[in-house]
Symmetry: C2
Subunit: 219 residues, 2 copies
Amino acid sequence: MNKEKAVVVISGWLDSTVLLYKIIDEWYEPYAISFNYWQKHSKELECAKKTCEYLWVNHKIIDVSFLKNLLDSSLLNDDEEIPEWDYKEENMKSTVVPSRNLIFSSIAIGYGQSIGAKIVALGVHWGDHTIYPDCREEFIDKLNEVAKISDWHYIELYCPFVNISKTDVVKIWKDLNVDFSLTWSCYKWGEKPCGKCGTCTERLEAFRDNWMEDVLDYN
Amino acid sequence: MNKEKAVVVISGWLDSTVLLYKIIDEWYEPYAISFNYWQKHSKELECAKKTCEYLWVNHKIIDVSFLKNLLDSSLLNDDEEIPEWDYKEENMKSTVVPSRNLIFSSIAIGYGQSIGAKIVALGVHWGDHTIYPDCREEFIDKLNEVAKISDWHYIELYCPFVNISKTDVVKIWKDLNVDFSLTWSCYKWGEKPCGKCGTCTERLEAFRDNWMEDVLDYN
């Protein structure tokens, strides 16, 4: 039986990397896609690339560098500091890149329609909800309705983590034998993750809640 | 009173150019945005630029050249011929760029949210419905629901031509005193429009139905 094609948006972070393993496990033929927008945390792209090479997965890195000058966010702006220590709403709001997930998903949808894929898989997870409006379940549901009718080729979104915490994603991760040394979860550029920013804090909590130690070496 | 900001997606074609005039007439402060994806009809971008200069409107041309290799369409593929003479479904289907309007709208939405705009205006019109799924009213309605919740900043789509034929767009055009020498409506690259492709045929019909002569010089 021929495998169905699945476009997987992979950032190189924990969640989307686990998702890629899951898609392969579910017997899809994956087409991974990543986005380079000169984000401060572009170390993540190296991780995405290495994971795809390791898994022998077709991988495209799309240059969307225009976003840096078009969208407003501390993640893109060189003069603005990334907030530390806390992944709470007010603290992290400056890291929102307006409609980033909408833009990346739209490109992935067009790509999927062009290659005749059955689904576009996105690694959005429950922890993103508070801060990032375009990662909420309500948003994903509405975007799915858009995806279904945006081309002659029918396609659907697949977001299995949308109601799962990062702690639970790490649980699945263990089962799938993910090489978690090839993932990144830090908002700051650096050879090693900072261990202080909101997303480092969130990752470390997820490991701790699973009684695991993170293999990454922190600053 | 301060004017509200409006992002206007301008292709340089007839419909979106009329839309820009209409947005100014409705007392918005327009921010025009165009997309360069090395389309065969990139003559349109020159037209968009000239119209924005003529109207003293802030204009960004976004490089989305990655689409050429990512999406499948006779509009992008150098080896494929653009169909001639007829704007009917089967004939024009090869010109569909999967989810092009979804992708461009998403970028415009993110831009609008970043500058605090009230609306994103799109020039989709009734004639596009049959062939381009992502120009239909049903699609626009669903995308509008997505736009409203995709960021902390609330924004809406504005598509006043979605149920209007090109013939009616030309009627409005006359009232707004649009410089229609600065518009393009041909799917083929060339110094002059071909007068044969589906969109040239459609434009010529719209003028004829209005008892007007097109100022463009055809091949």
